[in-house]
Each structure stands twice: as C-alpha cells, then as structure tokens.
C-alpha cells in the first residue's frame, strides 16, 4: 500500500517537558492506524502536530511524498487532515450546527450564515453517523457523550482524507462506540485514512490494521496488528510485562449494608431507584449513555439532592443537602467530567490534590494549611498513582488526559472516604494505570471501603464489580450477580426495547 503520511523525526517540547523525541513512522493510505502509549507518552501532542495545532520544534511531516508545513488547523483541513481532540473543543453557547461549521460557515449573500444549508448538512452527517441529535439544539445542554459525537461530526463534514481520532470512545458508551466503529469502517471503505488513539485494547484489535506504540515521547515500534498480540503491545507500551487483570470472586459471608438507597428519583432523569451497597463491596452500575446514572449518583451526593427517596448510611437515615454534607458523612464522588467538575485546571497538581482533604482538616490546623503535611500528602499520592508531571506545581490543565484522571481519583481518596462513587473511573487511562486503579480499588474494598462504579466500558464493569446494577432510561433494569455476569446479559438489560422503558424494575434490596 501507498504511504499517505510519514512522520520524520518530530521533536516537541513544552516548558519542563520533552513531549516528543525524534519520532518517525509511516501511515499507509486507507488504513486505520492505531497509536498507543501510556498516559503522557505524547500521543495527543503528536496528533496535534500532525493536525497543525502545534508546531514541532524540529522534524518534518511528509504527505503524499511532499513535505508538509502547516500554518494552522485551517491549513491542515485544506490538506484534508481533520482532528477530533481528546478534550471537547466546542462552544457551549452555540448550537450543534453552528459548532460543526464554526469557521467554515456556509454563506448566504457573502456575510450572512446560510442556516438552512448548515442545518441540513449537519443533519445529513449526523444521519450518516446514525445519531439522532437536533442540529439546532444548544450544545452546552447535551451530555458529554453526545458532544463527543458532535466533535466527530465536525471533523467529518469536511470530508477529510486523514482523520485523527484522539480517544474518541473515552466518553462514549459501548452503544455509541459501536456507532463510531461503523463510521470508521465506512470511512476506510471510502479510502479515508484514520489515526486512532485509544487505551482500549479490544477496540484496537477489532478495528485497526496497524499500531504504532509510543513510550515517554519516543517511537517504540510500528507493527501490523496481524503480526502481534495484546500482551506484546502492552509490553511495548509499558516496557514490562503486566499481570493481566482477572475477575475476583467476592469474599463469602454477608457484609453489613453501608449505603441503603430507597426510591430515589428526581421525577425525570432517574426514577424510584433502590439498592444496597455493602461494606467492602464494589458495585457496578452499567447502562447506556443517557440512562441517567450520572444524575443518579449526583443526586445521592446532593448535587443537586434527589427530591424523592431516602438514603441511609450504616442503617442511619441521612439528609444530604449539598456535597459538603456528603463529604462529612464520608462519601466521595469522582465525577464523570473531570474538566468541568473534577479539577480546577488553572491550579497546580498539588493544590488540586489537597483541595478536598484540606476542608476535612487532614492537612490543616486551625484553618491554616500545614505546608509540610500538604507537600507530604501530595507527594505520596503523586507517587502512588505514578502521576506524570514535571512538578507538583504544574498546572493540572497542562497534564495529559489520563494523568488528569489520576489526579481526580487521588484527590478523592485523599479524603479517606467510606463510600466512594466513581463515574467512569478509567476514562482515558492507559492499560498499565487501569490495572493499578483496579488493584487499588480492590485493595481499598478489602479494607472495607464501599465503592459504586459507573462504567460504560463493559469489560471494566465485569472485571471489577462484585455485583452489577443495570440502568435503563432512568430506571433500574435489573441486577446481575457475580456468577451470572456477562457482557451479553448487561447489554440485554441495558438496551431492551423501549416498550418497557419508564416502568422500573423491582427494588433489588437484599
């Protein structure tokens, strides 16, 4: 096959960080080319260089055997290179259609926006992707999952020859991911070349032809997937063998109920939800995007409090009016959207880490922060989570996606909670770290921490959950015990025909 793009010894550094070091490899036309690597390996940086969003310090891009120097993203688009960034790059105050065509608006009479065309072409592209989103809907009102789909749509309307997808599935549920894969195959069929970044092994082996592995900003190897296997890829990424993560049967013997939720609902997004979370249990909460899982846990956490239903902690009924109450009761919530809800991007890693612990007086005395205790704690968590950052003062916003996720987790564990709710715990986290996080959660559970895990990544829910609840359209669709658990059963419950939606399954209280 012909080489479409070749990357020639690209080097890129940021203040205090050498993100890419002399990276070279070829991308063959009409293939789906996976790029893998640990968090902070330099994947996004490399992609942004290829898409003209970043200028390399040195090195050269070659497109169709012609040297390519990009003045910016517009320029890249002109050469047929489109990118979907790892973080959403959309204006929440504009409509879907306006976002899709931002900077490339179809014009009527030279100056005015041709709304009709804009709307139609957006609708058409969305239809082609098989998503039913109203082009006139205000973007900010959509959940991230859908915003992610809009990002992809935004790249597609320009009919690129080279499409870069930077962790597109990280905020998509299994179902939406399938949509994406269909689109990807469809594009490949039409000769479009795709650079595909993900941390999910299975996606790579199911959808890609070739994989390029980066480690610490250096190119490790580019190999056709046919000639390799998961373990090798992992080894290439991590530089060592990883003990594969296996399911672990929960210890027998009835554990006391830690968190008891009864008839929780907000009348719309989630209704009449009842379940028990036992001490030291890891309870999975599966479902499609839009099932209302995030809203549910937010309701438990008091942000905003659920209008209907009751919550009991260790048998005592509790009123949780605001997150502060929840924290005081020993609850922790790692939110779904780390940028909007999890982190203060403008503050340093350390400051973010200590923010929640600070309030509980863990590292402060008489209202004043104890610098030693703080730096001590921060250091511990940065090591424990292997957070890749030049210094604890580095802006969280400048960390790689996965490392940001680690900071959010660490921040909440620093509060030493008794119940930890995690919404998409490993979104954008690399295999190595995933394994660590799973191990960590198990360890914490063993020490008696109760964990409620929302995950749209089926293998993930299966691997770590002792028990799985499935939500559908705002109601509990059912519960799956450890032994019956399988992807098929989960999908069956999660995606039942909409005839049944609305009516909720009977409480699953023990």
């Amino acid at each position: 096959m012909a080489v479409l793009l070749s990357v020639k010894s690209i080097t890129k550094s940021f203040p205090g960080v050498l993100a890419l070091r002399d990276v070279s490899f070829d991308v063959e036309a009409g293939t789906v080319h996976a790029v893998m690597g640990e968090n902070g390996a330099g994947k996004s940086t490399l992609m942004q260089v290829i898409a003209g969003a970043l200028r390399p310090d040195s090195g050269q891009l070659v497109l169709d055997d012609k040297p390519l120097t990009l003045s910016g993203t517009r320029d890249a688009l002109r050469h047929g290179i489109a990118i979907v960034y790892q973080e959403l790059m959309l204006a929440p105050n504009l409509t879907v259609a306006e976002n899709v065509f931002l900077g490339m608006e179809p014009r009527a009479g030279g100056v005015l926006v041709d709304r009709g065309t804009q709307r139609e072409r957006t609708a058409a592209t969305l239809a082609r992707m098989g998503v039913g989103i109203d082009p006139d809907h205000r973007l900010g009102d959509l959940p991230i999952a859908q915003q992610q789909l809009i990002e992809i749509c935004k790249a597609l309307v320009h009919e690129p020859r080279l499409l870069i997808l930077d962790e597109p599935t990280s905020s998509l549920s299994e179902a939406d991911a399938l949509v994406l894969f269909r689109v990807v195959r469809d594009l490949r069929a039409h000769g479009v070349t795709i650079l595909y970044i993900t941390h999910r092994m299975r996606e790579v082996f199911e959808n890609c032809d070739t994989v390029t592995v980066l480690r610490d900003g250096q190119h490790v190897r580019t190999v056709p997937l046919a000639q390799t296997d998961q373990d090798e890829v992992v080894r290439l990424m991590v530089g060592r063998d990883l003990a594969g993560v296996h399911r672990v049967r929960p210890s027998e013997g009835d554990r006391p109920v830690r968190l008891a939720v009864r008839g929780l609902g907000d009348g719309g997004r989630y209704r009449d939800i009842s379940f028990d979370l036992h001490a030291g249990e890891i309870l999975g909460l599966a479902g499609l995007v839009g099932a209302g899982r995030s809203e549910l846990v937010m309701g438990i956490f008091g942000a905003p409090p659920a209008p209907e239903g009751t919550i009991a902690l260790d048998g005592r009924a509790v009123r949780i009016r605001r997150p502060a109450d929840a924290m005081r009761l020993g609850l922790g919530l790692v939110p779904e959207d780390r940028k909007q809800l999890g982190l203060v991007l403008g503050m340093g890693v350390g400051a973010n880490l200590s923010l929640s612990a600070m309030r509980l007086g863990r590292i402060s005395r008489a209202g004043f922060v104890n610098p030693l205790a703080e730096s001590g704690m921060v250091g511990r968590y940065v090591d424990r989570f292997r957070i890749k950052t030049p210094s604890v003062d580095q802006l969280v916003g400048l960390l790689s996606g996965g490392n940001q996720q680690k900071v959010v987790l660490a921040k909440w564990l620093a509060t030493e909670p008794r119940v930890l709710i995690v919404d998409e715990p490993t979104r954008g986290v690399d295999v190595g770290t995933k394994a660590e996080i799973y191990g960590l959660m198990r360890a914490l559970a063993r020490d008696g921490l109760s964990i409620l895990v929302i995950s749209s990544d089926l293998p993930e829910v299966l691997t770590i959950s002792d028990r799985i609840l499935v939500m559908r359209a705002g109601a509990l669709a059912g519960e799956i015990g450890f032994d019956e658990a399988s992807e098929e059963r989960i999908m069956a419950l999660a995606a039942l025909e909409h005839a049944h939606q609305g009516q909720s399954a009977e409480p699953t209280a023990a």
Partner: protein
C-alpha cells in the same frame, strides 16, 4: 442560569419565538415600570415626554451596541465615555477650525477608531486583560479632550448651515433624529449578531476562545474589530451630542462607561462573554433612562433618587432571574 440564558441566547438566533422569551423577563420589568410611571407621573405618558426620552437614551444606547459586541467576546471597554468626549470636542474643534462638517466628523471618528485599535492590539497582541488598556485610554482620551479645549467649551463653530444641528436636535417623521440613528444601528447590529458569520464567530470566541482559535478563527482580528467598533459607536454618540448641545466641552460622556455597561448587563449581556442580544440591551437602555426621567417627573427628593435607581436596577434583574428560574424548572 447563565448557561440557561445562553441556551436561549442561541435559540433566539434560530427561532424568533424563543428570541422573545429570552428577553421576556426584562421586558416584563420594563412594562411594569411604564405602567407604574404612567400612574404616578401623569406627564410621563405624554408623547412630548416620551420623545424626549427617546432622544435622551439614544446617546448611551448607541454606545451600548458597541460595548455589547466587546462583552460578547468576553471583553470590556471602559474607554467609551472618554472616547465620546474626545470625539465630541475634536469634531467641534475641527469645525471651528473651518473644516466642512462631514470631514470634521470623519476625522474625529478616525481618532476614535485609532483608540479602539490601540485597545484591541493591547488585548490581542500584548495579551493584556481588556480592563487595562481600556482604562488607560479612558484616562488618555479624556486628557486629550482637555488638552484640545483647555477646559473651555467650544461653541464658536458654525458648521455649513445649521443642518449639522438637526442631526442631534431635529426630528424626522416626528421621531427625534438621534433615536432614528440608534434604531437603525440597532437593527444592523441585531442582524449582524444573530445572522452574520462575523456575529456568530464573536459568540464562539466568547463561548470557548481556545476552541475558536483551534478551529482556525482569526480570533485576534475579530477581537480587535469589536474594540474599534465600540470606540466608533462612542464617537458617534459624542458627535450627535455635540450637534444636540450645539456646543462641546471636555467632560462630555464623563462616567458614561458605567451607564453603558450597566445597560448592557441589565439587558442580559454577560461580562463573561458569549451571551447578549440587541433586543435585551435595547430594553436595558430604555429602563435606565425612563427611570431617571420618571424620578424627576414624580418630583422625588433629589437626594433619594440614587436609592430608587439602585433598587430598580436590582428589581429589574431580579424579575429577569425569577422568570429564567421558572423557565428552567418547567
């Protein structure tokens, strides 16, 4: 609720119905005021008085249009009041120096535009927070106005005929000319903001500048343009006021930046950018003026007036919030 507001803000540009509902709250507030005033101040509802008001709020109103565009990109322009003054005196001075009216006004507006350009360059190329350069030009433009007049008022100028004085003092079809100017500019601004590529891109910058930049918008040029526009609107207000007062003095437009920004904010323009509509700021402007006018008509104790002004501002915005609240939860 700001997001809810923005939601409406965008919907507006798509469905005219929602457009109305976006500003419903503030319009209700205005309606209440009008009813109240007509009741307590019989002279208020007279056409004479209303026409006076229309003339009066036009000066600030014109500036608000420019200011709103700056605010939509997430900026702020404090220099507008001083630019107003500088343009006023310089146009008068140039006429007094014998230049033809049109030339004099154009030159004065050019000076205004230059100040706007300076603001824009500082904000974009030098990455300064908008507050800084516009605060600086606020002080500089005012000083230049003083330098030109040496504190005296310019009134000796006799433009070709009194046609010039009609601009601010005259009326057409029974409507005061300044109001007509304001009306026309508002319509233009309304279309530009809600329908034009340029306008939508301004909202995009206010909504997510980084995304706008990465999408290839020439953010800097767009930002510079709004500061220039804002300065020019300030200049237009100044020139019209000169023709209205038939005399220019260096402290014209003094402190007006506050009324201008206030009108925009009351009209639902967000200082954080990305939100705002012409209808909203129009209403905001009207509220502030009929408030001032109404208080005098009702013969309120001069010393207490400030209390009423403040209270009404809060009330108006409160009504707006309440409405949005209802709108959100239903």
């Amino acid at each position: 609720m700001s997001s809810a507001a923005a939601a409406e803000g965008t919907r507006r540009s798509i469905a005219a119905r929602a457009f109305r509902s976006r500003e419903a709250g503030i319009i209700i507030a205005l309606a209440i005021m009008i009813v109240g005033l007509s009741a307590f101040a019989p002279d208020f509802a007279t056409s004479d008085n209303l026409l006076n008001d229309a003339r009066n709020f036009s000066f600030v109103g014109i500036c608000v249009l420019g200011q709103a565009m700056v605010m939509i990109t997430g900026g702020i322009d404090l220099s507008v009041g001083s630019v107003w003054g500088l343009t006023a005196v310089s146009s008068a001075a140039l006429m007094a120096a014998g230049l033809p009216t049109v030339i004099a006004c154009l030159l004065a507006l050019l000076a205004a535009a230059a100040i706007g350009l300076f603001n824009g360059l500082c904000v974009t190329k030098l990455r300064m927070p908008p507050f800084v350069p516009t605060l600086a030009t606020m002080s500089i433009a005012r000083a230049l106005a003083l330098v030109i007049t040496r504190g005296r008022s310019i009134d000796s100028f006799r433009p070709d005929g009194d046609a010039f004085f009609a601009l601010g003092g005259g009326s057409t079809f029974g409507l005061p000319n300044p109001f007509l100017v304001f009306l026309v500019l508002s319509i233009i601004a309304g279309i530009v903001l809600s329908r034009s590529v340029y306008g939508r891109q301004l909202y995009a910058i206010g909504g997510n500048e980084r995304a706008a930049r990465l999408t290839g918008l020439s953010v800097d040029r767009l930002k510079i343009s709004v500061y220039v526009i804002s300065a020019i609107t300030g200049g237009i207000a100044g020139i019209i006021e000169v023709s209205y007062l038939s005399s220019a003095i260096s402290n014209q437009g003094l402190g007006k930046e506050l009324s201008v920004i206030a009108a925009a904010v009351i009209g639902g323009t967000a200082l954080t950018g990305g939100e705002g509509s012409v209808l909203g700021i129009f209403v905001g402007t009207v509220i502030l003026e009929i408030l001032r006018n109404g208080l005098v008509l009702m013969g309120t104790d001069a010393y207490w007036q400030g209390v009423f002004v403040g209270s009404v501002i809060v009330l108006a915005v409160f009504i707006d919030q309440v409405r949005k609240g209802f709108w959100r939860t239903r």
